[in-house]
Amino acid sequence: MYKKEVRGELILGNKSYGDITNDILRSQEEKAPLWWWISFAVFFVLMAIGLGWAVPKTIMKGIGVWGNNNQVAWGWAIINFVWWIGIGHAGTAFSIFLLVFRQKWRTSINRAAEAMTVFAVLAAGLFPAIHVGRPWDEFFIFPYGPNSRGLWVNFNSPLLWDVFAIATYLTTSAIFWYIGMLPDFATIRDRSTGIKRTIFNAMSFGWVGKMSSWRKFEDALAILGGLAMPLVIAVHSIVSTDFSAGILPGWHETIFPPFFVVGAIFSGFSMVVTLMVLIRKAFKLDDYVTDDHFDAIARIITFVSLIMGSAYLIELFIAWYSANKFESYVFIDNYMFGHYSAPYWWMVIFNAFLPQLFWFKKIRRNLTAIFIITIGVNIGMWLERYNIVVPPAAEDFLPANWFEYAPTIIDKWVYLGTIGLFGVGVLLFIRFIPMMAMNELKQQAKRHTELKPTDIQYHAIKKLLNDE
C-alpha cells in the first residue's frame, strides 16, 4: 500500500479534479508544438524508408538481401524481434504487476507504458512475419484445418507457440489499454464539439460513469490484468524456448526462461522511464510524474539489474563447472576474451554495472542521469540479444563451418523502420489520446478515503527513513 505520509504525495500542487482534466488534456487541446512536428517528421521518414523500401525489398527478393548466412540464420531480425518484445513487456509489467501489487504510483505512468506495449509488439511482430521469407504462405501457421498436405501444424514447436503467444499478447494488451481509456474518451467527448465530438463519441462507446458501469469496468479490468500477468511470463518464456530448445551451446540453457522474462521487464521499465523523462519535460507534467515516481522506478531497475548481473555470472560459472568444451568455448573463450568480447563487456557494463549508480539518491532524482542510464540499459539489452543470437551460432561445434555475420544496409533499415513506426505511434498517442489515465489520477487525488497507516506503523517507518 502506498503511504502518502511516508513516500510523498503522488500528485503535487493540490489539484482539483477539474485541474487534472485540464492539465492532461492540454497536450491535445493546444496546437502541436514545433518539437512534435520535427520529431514526427524524423520518425515518419525512418518509417517510410524502413517499411516502404527495406521491407518490400526483403519480400520481393527474399531474405538473401539480409546478412543472414547458413551459420547465423536468424541475425538482426530475431535480435530486433526479441528486443521489441522485451520493450513491449513494459506495459504489462508496469501497469498490471503494479496494479496487482497495489502500487498506486503507477497511475501517472501506466497509460504511456501500455501504449508503448502496443506499438512495440506491433514492431516486434513484423520481424518473424518477414523472416519466414514467403509471408503469403503464413496462413500455414494457423490450424485452419488440415492444409493442402493433409497435416496439422506442429503444436509441440516453440516457434508455433510464439505465434499464438504474441497474437494473444497483442490482443490482450490492446484491449486492456482501450478499455482503460473509455472513461477518458467520455471526458473528451463531453468537452468537445463538431467532428472531434463525433469521433470521441464513437470511441467512448457511450460511456457514462454509473456505479454499475464502474463495478463491471473494475471487474473486467481486474480479470484482464490477472490473465495478462502470467501471460507476460508465458510469452517471454516461450520466446526463450525458441533458443533453449535448440542444442547449440550458448542457447541450450535451462536458465533462459526466467532470464528472458527478467530481461524483458528490465528493458521495458527502462524504455518507459526514457519516455516519461521526455514527456514530463515536454509537457511540464512535473506535478504528475514527480521525482518520487522516478525514485521508485529506479529502485526496481536497480534490483532487476542485480538479477541480470547474477544471471551473467551463473552462465559463466556453469560454462566452467560443466567442463563442457563447447559450452566454455562460447562463454569464456568467445564472450569474455574472444572477438565477441566488445559487445559482451558493453552489455555487462550497461546492464549490470551502470544501473548500480541508482544506489545513490542524488542520481535517482536527477533526470539527466536517469535518462542516460536507461538509454544505456536499452543499448545493453539490444547487445544482450545480439550476444545470444550471433556468437553461439557463428562459432559452433565444427570450426570448419564457422562463418562471421554482418548485417546489410537492408537489415539496418528494417530496424530503423520499426523505430520509426514506434516513434510515430508514440507521438500520435501523446497528441491525440490522454497520456495519463485521468480517471485513475482523480481516484488518487480523492480526499475522503486516504488509508492512513496506524500510528505505530507511521512512527516506525518515519524513524527508519530518518535513520537512513
Binding site: 488440415p146 472513461p183 470511441m203 457514462v208 460513469g209 454509473k210 454499475s212 490473465l227 482523480k442
Partner: protein, 167 residues
C-alpha cells in the same frame, strides 16, 4: 422533468450524502462519478457477475483448447516426432495461451453486452461535468412519495450539494 439530479463536486460530501441515503432507504437510481469510488459501490452493494462468468469462460477455454489439440494431434493425425507420445506434455502451453485468449475476448464481450456499450453509442445520460469533476445522484421522481422527495431534498441540502436540479 422526471429525475432529480443532485450535483456534488466534493466526494467527501457525496459520501456523507450516500450514508444518509442508505439510511433513509431512498430509491436512488444511479450515482454517476468521474472516477470509481470503491466505497460507494460497497455502500450500495453494487455487484457484477463478470468474475464468475470469466471463470466459466476459462473452464470452457481449457477444455475446448485441449479437445482441439487432442483431436488434431492424437485422433486425426498422430505425428511421430522422435518417438514421443502424441498426447504431449507440451499441451499445457497452448492450453494456457488459448484459455487466456478465449477468456479475455469473452469477458470483454460480456462487459460490453451487459453495460450496453458499443462504438458510436450516444451516452444515455448527460449532464455538464459528469465525466470531468462533478458527481451526481440521480433519483427517479415518479417513484417517490411526496414525503420521500422532501426528505431527499433535505439530505441533499444538508450535505452541501452544489445544485439540486431536475431533468
Amino acid at each position: 422533468m422526471s429525475k432529480i439530479v443532485a450535483v456534488y463536486s466534493d466526494d467527501k460530501k457525496l459520501m456523507e450524502a450516500a450514508d444518509m441515503l442508505v439510511e433513509a432507504k431512498a430509491p436512488v437510481e444511479e450515482i454517476i462519478t468521474p472516477f470509481v469510488i470503491e466505497e460507494l459501490l460497497e455502500k450500495f452493494h453494487v455487484k457484477s457477475n463478470i468474475p464468475l462468468l470469466a471463470f466459466f469462460y476459462g473452464v470452457f477455454g481449457v477444455t475446448s483448447v485441449f479437445a482441439a489439440l487432442y483431436y488434431t494431434f492424437v485422433v486425426d493425425y498422430p505425428l511421430n516426432i522422435g518417438g514421443k507420445p502424441s498426447l504431449s506434455l507440451t499441451f499445457p502451453v497452448l492450453m494456457f495461451i488459448g484459455t487466456v485468449l478465449i477468456t479475455v475476448l469473452s469477458t470483454v464481450g460480456t462487459f460490453f453486452y451487459q453495460d450496453k456499450l458499443f462504438p458510436g453509442k450516444h451516452p444515455d445520460f448527460s449532464y455538464p461535468g459528469i465525466n470531468d469533476d462533478k458527481m451526481v445522484v440521480l433519483v427517479d421522481k415518479s417513484k417517490l412519495s411526496a414525503d420521500m422527495e422532501a426528505k431527499l431534498r433535505e439530505i441533499f441540502e444538508k450535505t452541501g450539494a452544489e445544485k439540486i436540479d431536475e431533468v
